[in-house]
Each structure stands twice: as C-alpha cells, then as structure tokens.
C-alpha cells in the first residue's frame, strides 16, 4: 500500500480549509444529535442529507462521517448527567456515569467519557487501516454469486439482530429489496411497479425512503409521547473544566483497559448488524471481569464509563469495513450512511479497494481527526454542553419535518417525491409503532440493484448451480448458521432470564 496514498489523504484534508471547516462544523452537530435524547446519529445523518447536496463526493462523505463518528461522544452527556441515554448504545454508560454525577463528579465522568470516546475513535480507525492489506485479497476473490449471497447475508444478519421477530425483520428486508426493483429493469428495459409515473422510472429515491422510514416516524413518535427532560434540575449540569481535564487523565490511568475495549469494539463493529449495543455491553462486561474491584461497578466506577465509551466510538471504525468494501452495513447507522454515500456517488463494494483507496484513506483520517478534535472542542465548551440536554423535542419537530421534506425534494428535484415521502412515512410509523425493525429495509433497498445484477451475472456465467461454488457454500452456511443461532438464542431466552441482553437494544 502506497505511503503516498496514506499520508497524501491526510495532507489533502488538513491542507484544505474547506474540508477542515466541514469537520469542525460536523463535530458540534454530531454532538447535538447525540446529546438530545430521542434524536441520535441516524436521524442526524438523515437530516443533514439536504445540506450535502451542493457538496462534492469527498466533502459530503467527510462531513457525514465526521458527524456520525462523534454522535456517541455527545450521547454520553445525558447518560451521565440525567441517567437518560442520548442514544441506545449509550445506555451502558449510565450504570456508572449517573452514580458519579449524583456524587457530584459529573465533570470527571464526562471528561473520562470524552477522553475514552476520542481514544476509542482513533483506535477504531487504526484497526480499520490495519485490516486493509489483509482484506484486499478476500474482497477481490468475490464473484457475482457471492455478492448476491452477501446481500441476502446482510439482510439476514440485520433481521436477526435488530428486532424481536425474525419473520418481521426478514419481511422488511425483502420489502426493501422489492422496492429496489421499482423502475426500469436494466435487463429488459421494462418499467416495473411504476404505475405509469415517469418519476418512478429511475426507481424509488433512497433518500426519500430513508427519510420516510426513519425521520418522519421518529418525529411523530416524539410528538405523540413528548420528549422533555426539562424537569431535571439544571444544578446537575454544573461542573468545572478542571474536573473534565482530570476525567480525561483517568483514561491514561486506565490506558490498557481503554486499548482492549477499543479493539473489542472495533472487532464487534466489523460484524454486520451486531451494532453498538452489543459492543458497549460486551466491553462493560470485560471491564467488570478484568477489574480488581468489581464490587465498585454500578456505584460509580470510572472504568464503567471508559469501557463502553471507547467501544461506542471504536465500533464506528470497525463497521466502516463491511459498509465500504462489501456494501453490507456494520450497524443501522451505517445502513443510513451507506444510503447517503450512494446518493453522493460513492458505490460501496470491492471496487473501492481498487479504484477509490484514496477516498477510503480520506474517510479513515476524517474519522481520526473528528475524534481527536472533538476532545479539544468539548473541553472548550464543556461547561455549556449539559444545557443541550434541556432542549425540548417538541421544538425540533417542525424543523425536522421541513428538513425531511427538503431532503426528499432536493434529492431528485421532483415534487412527486413528497407524495412518496407521505405514504412511506405513514408506513414507516406503522412499522415503528408495531415493532417491525426498519434497518433491514434500508439494506434491502440499497443492495437490491446490486443483488439483482449479481444474480443475473452469476446465472449467465455458471447457470443455476452458481451456489455450488465453494465460497458461495460458505455464505449459504453462514446464512443458515445465523438463522439457527437466532432460533437457539430465542429458545434460551424463552426458557429463562439469562443476564444482560447483548443484542436487544432499542427498537429501531
């Protein structure tokens, strides 16, 4: 791998005031979405999509990735100060972060969380970078048959891990695939599922579909249930910068734990669909097991803040790996980021290894820079960050509606997209309301075109026996294995309580 590409990519970012400005802008935005309970990184990406329409591919991707990579840094703020997780994976931070805040050590806990997040984010990017040379021959060995099976594998993984019902998850994933077939068939030129509408000839707009299934249902849900935490005393949000700095120092004190949990987080992130909840809880469990004073956990142990926070940010680096090189998102947030990348003109897949390696390195460096800069930025505004958590969700609803509608309109410049947004938004709300997981839909929609093309190619090359190829058989075995594992796990859960649910997490 050329040193020119590696460090040239870093130089191209730091020498560009435009890209550096975008990273600096993305960090507070990411923290904002993380710090307000009910918003989160997925909604953040979706709502920032309108703002990247005018940008080129690299700038848009750097902005969105930088924003997404620091969401959990912001998410630790309400977890520690109020005991309310900003996003699902931040829940593990509450166990020790909130007791520390109640003991008057909120600044110390926040500093530790910040230092751990920054450290974890950097290690996650390093793990991703170290994997590149190993991964190249694997990715290049894939044929169309494997890419078709990979799409099915991605949907299966996400379906088994993002909800309570496998049937619902698979059905939603297949629904996403079906919608990917809307438009002119590339094989025959036949208009499929277009109802005679010209605007559907190019297919269902991915951005409109993502906005409809994620942003709109979240806002309707927030409006219906209400989302204010303003009843919590503002006293809890008061702390000094010195306390925050001491907290950052605590990460150095527990540096080996931070390193181990960062690596665990990055590796967990590489497994498609496993998501942040699993990474944080596994790392929290590791911190308890490896501690000399496990009895302090749950009462305000700083290691209980450091371990999940390192994992939270390091998993983003890990999950970029399947997202970029296989087109299979590592997490639900990455599924939406994948959709945004496609919109920007980036086509994830093995060709990234051959033709867009410089872009991959730009993204890796953006991840590193965003995590490092966020530490300094946070220290600078530490005293006011707690205030973010007091913003009432109700005030944001109309703006989310406007930005959602704007994103949908701008993506194709067609007003008909707004009708699609309406109908799919209603469907999205029903799916959310009645516990149908939505991430498999995004994967199906994004991968549908590639899956169909790959299947046709595989059939043309090998005929119907394409799935008898050795690597295809491995994929089929993994798909069947993950389904069997799901059934076994469900049966175990039904038989009795089994400790901490690693993959439960919030319903998406």
């Amino acid at each position: 791998m050329s040193i020119d590409i590696i460090f040239g990519s870093l130089f191209s970012i730091i020498s560009s005031p435009y890209l550096m400005g975008l990273i600096l802008l993305a960090i507070p935005i990411g923290m904002f979405f993380g710090a307000i309970p009910g918003l989160g990184g997925k909604l953040g990406i979706v709502l920032m999509i309108p703002f990247v329409f005018g940008m080129d591919m690299v700038a848009g991707a750097v902005f969105l990735l930088a924003m997404h990579s620091v969401v959990h840094t912001g998410g630790s703020i309400p977890s520690i100060i109020f005991g309310i997780p900003g996003t699902g994976p931040d829940a593990a931070t509450i166990i020790d972060g909130y007791p520390l805040a109640k003991q008057g050590k909120a600044g110390w806990a926040l500093g530790a969380s910040l230092g751990a997040s920054g450290f974890g984010g950097v290690i996650g990017a390093v793990v991703l970078a170290l994997m590149l040379p190993v991964l190249k021959p694997v990715v290049l060995a894939f044929s169309p048959a494997e890419f078709f099976l990979l799409a099915i594998l991605g949907i299966t993984f996400i379906a088994t891990l993002s909800g309570d019902s496998l049937v619902k998850g698979l059905a939603v994933g297949l629904f996403g695939l079906m919608l990917a077939f809307v438009g002119l068939d590339p094989q025959t030129g036949v208009a499929r599922f277009t109802f005679g509408q010209l605007f559907l000839w190019d297919g269902i707009d991915v951005i409109t579909a993502i906005l409809a299934l994620f942003a709109i249902p979240e806002m309707i849900s927030l409006g219906v249930k209400g989302g204010s935490i303003s009843s919590v005393s503002a006293q809890a949000a008061r702390y000094s910068v010195k306390e925050v700095l001491l907290g950052i120092g605590a990460v150095w004190t527990h540096r080996w734990l931070a390193l181990r949990t960062s690596i665990i987080g990055a590796v967990v992130g590489m497994i498609p669909g496993l998501g942040g909840d699993a990474a944080t809880w596994i790392c929290y469990g590791h911190a308890v097991q490896s501690s000399k004073t496990p009895e302090l956990f749950g009462k305000g142990a700083i290691e209980g803040v450091i371990a999940p926070e390192t994992a939270n940010n390091s998993k983003e680096g890990g999950s970029l790996l399947p997202t970029l090189f296989f087109g299979v998102p590592g997490s639900s947030g990455m599924a939406i980021l994948l959709g945004a990348f496609v919109m920007l003109g980036i086509q994830p897949g093995p060709q990234m290894m051959l033709t867009q390696l410089d872009l991959v390195w730009v993204l890796i460096w953006a991840l590193v820079l965003a995590n490092v800069i966020s530490v300094f930025m946070f220290v600078g505004v530490a005293r006011w960050l707690g205030v973010l958590s007091f913003i009432r969700g109700g005030l944001l609803i109309p703006f989310v509606f406007i930005l959602g509608i704007m994103g949908s309109y701008l993506s194709r410049g067609a007003w008909e997209n707004l009708l699609l947004l309406f109908f799919m938004g209603i469907l999205g709300y029903l799916l959310k309301r009645f516990d149908w997981p939505r991430p498999p839909f995004v994967i199906g929609l994004v991968l549908g075109g590639i899956a169909e093309e790959s299947l046709h190619k595989a059939l043309n090359i090998w005929g119907p026996t394409f799935f008898m190829r050795p690597m295809s058989l491995v994929f089929i075995a993994i798909i069947i294995g993950s389904l069997v594992l799901y059934v076994v796990r469900r049966n175990k859960q039904k038989k009795g309580p089994s400790g901490v649910a690693l993959s439960g997490g919030p319903k998406l």
């Binding site: 309108p50 703002f51 049937v167 297949l174 079906m178 036949v190 499929r192 309707i220 005030l395 109309p398």
Partner: protein, 155 residues
C-alpha cells in the same frame, strides 16, 4: 372488533403490498419478473405467517391483558393530530414553498400544538426561515422550492 388491532392491520398491509407486487410481477417478461418473484413470494409467505401469528395472538389475548395493552385515547388523538400535521407541512411546502412554510406553519405548530409562547414561536419560525434561506440559497446555492401557489402568483 377484538381481532382487529394495529399489529394485525400492519401485517395485513405488508401482505397486501407483497401480494400486489407479486401480482404485478406476473405480467412482466420472464427475465424482468424472475428476481421480483424470487424475493416477493418468500416475502408474501413471511407476511402471511406474521398475520396468522398476530391473529392468533389477538384471539388468545385475555380480556384484562387486552384492556391493559389498549392504547389510551389521548395517545390516539395525538397520533391523529400528527397524521394531520405531517401532510399539512407537505401540502404547505407544495403550495407555498419552503421559506413561507417555515415562517408560517412552524409558528402555527409551535403556538397551537406545543403551546409555546408567542415570543419563542415567532423567534424560532423567523430564525428558522432566515437560516434556511441563508444556508441553502446563499451558502450552498440551492434554490429553495417556491411552491405552486407562489409560482402562480409571481408569474
């Protein structure tokens, strides 16, 4: 009706979508319909299984539990209200464009639905409209959609 609840309706809706897409696929040439059928038929079967499971769960539900899980009327009203606000925003954007919608409908929403003060509602709606205009029209150079009605009035 005891058997009819949101879970059943959603499963039935998903089944109907799959069934209609599979039905439409049958009219396409063999090469164009192969993959949609390969995906659509299993999707239909999964939705059928889910629908049967939801119907069975509804049928078996103990009346007391059923009562306990019933959605409060106030929540239903809130849901209905939001199902009206959402298309209202879309209709307003289509007719009046983004800037006017941000200026007017955000204000109306904050005042009527969220019961915010006049000062805050006005500040947020005007501020929001100004920020949108500055960011999209000036900084990003993306012209905001003016709306059918605004277009008609201006021409």
């Amino acid at each position: 009706m005891k058997l009819l609840n949101g879970h059943v309706v959603t499963a039935a809706l998903m089944l109907a979508i799959f069934a209609s897409m599979v039905g439409m696929s049958m009219q396409y040439p063999p090469n164009a319909r192969m993959v949609p059928l390969l995906i659509g038929v299993p999707g239909m079967i999964l939705c059928l299984i889910q629908l049967a499971s939801e119907l069975l769960a509804s049928y078996r539900a103990i009346p007391d539990t059923d009562q306990a899980h019933r959605v409060p009327a106030s929540e239903l009203v809130r849901e209905l209200k939001f199902f009206l606000w959402f298309p209202a925003f879309i209709a307003s954007v289509l007719l009046l464009g983004f800037t006017v919608t941000t200026l007017c409908l955000v204000f109306v929403f904050l005042r009527l639905d969220q019961r915010e003060s006049m000062k805050l509602s006005l500040g947020l709606s005007v501020g929001g409209a100004v920020v949108l205009y500055l960011v999209f029209e000036i900084v990003l150079g993306l012209p905001l959609y003016p709306g059918f009605l605004s277009n008609w009035l201006l021409t």
